[in-house]
């Protein structure tokens, strides 16, 4: 194997951080990053699904015939997404209400399917687990970064606590849909500048 397990893990945190480098999973990132709480919740959900589906796909990769592999991946991913959905409903219902449709939509999110196809189907269990965990955490971190930016400027709070004095006029544009695009664009721009060699 070319890369070590640790490298597979850390690449998800910077070199292949999903929304900024792979530019995948943008639909939920635009929609749920209104508050840091949502960002963390979504990040955990995606990390769980990604890690579990990567492990399972890697375990089954010798058994799954290549002609029906996509169908198999979707079954695996959908199963884990439903697990997350049920658990969230049972234990963190208020978060579930805020994330709503975006939890079931992880099924059609390109990240788990993309990693299953591009990585887990070709690599071992441990490497796939590290890959899934790394990318999931990377995705979670970018959600948190983006939602922190939007929440701080758009509502004037961080994690529900006010950060500015009472004279602060919230810049509500940031928490609306166009603000999400602008924020994401700026983040991508910064990432590209920083990543330039």
């Amino acid at each position: 194997m070319a890369k070590s397990i640790a490298q597979e893990f850390t690449k998800g945190l910077w070199a292949e951080i999903p929304p900024f480098r792979l530019v995948l999973g943008l639909c939920p990132i635009l929609a749920v990053t209104k508050s840091v709480e949502n960002g963390i919740g979504m990040g955990i959900a995606v990390t769980f699904v990604l890690t579990c589906s990567n492990i399972l796909v890697a375990m089954l990769r010798k058994v799954i015939p290549s002609k029906v592999r996509i169908a198999c991946f979707i079954i695996v991913i959908a199963t884990f997404v439903t697990v997350v959905e049920l658990l969230m409903q049972a234990y963190t219902y208020s978060l579930f209400m805020k994330l709503g449709i975006f939890i079931p939509l992880i099924v059609v999110n390109c990240i788990p399917l993309g990693r299953a196809e591009a990585f887990a189907y070709k690599n071992g269990v441990l490497a796939s687990a590290a890959d899934g965990l790394g990318l999931g955490i990377g995705y979670g971190l970018s959600l948190v970064a983006l939602s922190a930016l939007r929440e701080v400027f758009g509502v004037g709070t961080f994690f529900g606590h006010p950060v500015f004095g009472s004279s602060f006029q919230p810049f509500t544009f940031m928490v609306e849909a166009p603000g999400a695009f602008v924020c994401l664009g700026l983040m991508l721009c910064i990432m590209n500048v920083l990543g330039k060699k």
Partner: protein, 200 residues
Amino acid sequence: MREMVKMVVVLAVLCSVSGGLLAALRDGTKDQIENQQLEFVKGPAIRKILVEGAGATNDPIKDRFKIKIGEREESFFVGVVNGKPNLVTFESAGKGFGGSIGLVVGVDVTTDKIAGVAVTTHSETPGIGSRAQTDAKFTKQFVGLPLSGEFKVKSDGGQVDALSGATVTSRGVSGAVTMAAQIYQQAKPQLVEKLKAMNK
């Protein structure tokens, strides 16, 4: 041919395993999810009627019981006012403009009069039909009416003032109250028994 069989077998096994797993998980979390839904979806409406509206001192979500009416089971939430559990709320539903409207109806068992109604779930047009949930004036008109017979909007020859521009929604809410009256009539004998048992 062998490959075909393999594909079918792999897919079938994978599907049944994941199906079985999810069914087990669903069974395991069913009660917990029901509790959470009561707390977050119906809880606010029930508390609004019993605690804020009528001054109940208990937690109506905890003091609940089920009564079997025909084939169905209805949950009743009890409000204790001045030490007496005389108020109950239960759910009903009507057909609105955009789909089903969920309604919680509170009733005083001693007088059979409506203590309050509140919309829990709906998919009405925002800003028009959705006012059935937010406009206190609309739901307040039901308070004090006896919970029996049929409820109709005024344009249909009834007693309910419709929300302007949202007649269909208002009809849906009225229909839900009518249904609540039917449920109440059927459940009343058992309901009185249960409340008596609670009073001791």
